[in-house]
Symmetry: C2
Subunit: 133 residues, 2 copies
């Protein structure tokens, strides 16, 4: 389980929106506030749309909002929206990816670690994160 820069940007973006609920926020504003390249951020927001995390309003005065309450969005959810499922070792996602085809004594450890990490990331929601300073 590692977080690409893209996913990191996505997290910042959702965090900013969580701190600015109740209004529509433009890509430009988020980009400036969170130091994310604007056109890249636009792409990232499309992923977050597909995942149902944000909703968009087109046209002038358009922009983005969270599609759910901050407390109902977990870190894990945002990361997976960008990267898909991930783990410390691919074999923990799909046994077939291992040429030892899971007959390996190390395999259960990757599965265990994956579970632990996902648990932790699921616990963290954006209401919590937006409140901290």
């Amino acid at each position: 389980m590692y977080v690409t820069r893209k996913a990191d940007y996505a997290i910042r973006c959702v965090l900013y929106l969580a701190k600015n609920t109740g209004r529509i926020t433009s890509v430009d504003e988020i980009s400036n506030a969170m130091y994310v390249p604007k056109s890249f951020l636009a792409k990232i927001l499309q992923c977050l749309m597909k995942a149902g995390i944000v909703s968009s309003t087109r046209g002038i005065k358009g922009g983005f909002q969270l599609a759910k309450e901050p407390k109902d969005i977990s870190l894990l959810e945002v990361i997976e929206a960008i990267q898909g499922p991930s783990a410390a070792n691919i074999c923990a996602i799909d046994k077939r990816m291992c040429s030892l085809s899971g007959r390996c004594t190390v395999h259960p450890i990757w599965v265990k670690i994956r579970k632990k990490v996902e648990q932790e990331l699921k616990k963290q929601n954006f209401a919590k994160l937006a409140k901290k300073r």
Copy 2:
């Protein structure tokens, strides 16, 4: 914290050596037994040498052995020998890698997860792993 194929190969390799202590094992043998490309494995063994995990004997009848007892080699050690320090998010390794420079409410979470995962990987040693089947 994610494990590249190279590190995964390294783990298999150390595991094989842990199951075959008390003799010198050639790259060729390990390569065949563990399904790792031979010339790539040779490189990997150089890394494990530098890290003091294996020792080599040159010349005909040469090969590799573990440089320490299996119980004193952890999974974490092998992974770091190949990949260097790693974490779910680079900012957990070096705050400066984050453009928000650690003034970010998510940062402590990455640090926490890194600690948890490293703890787990440190607990796992190759005496344990070689015994399982």
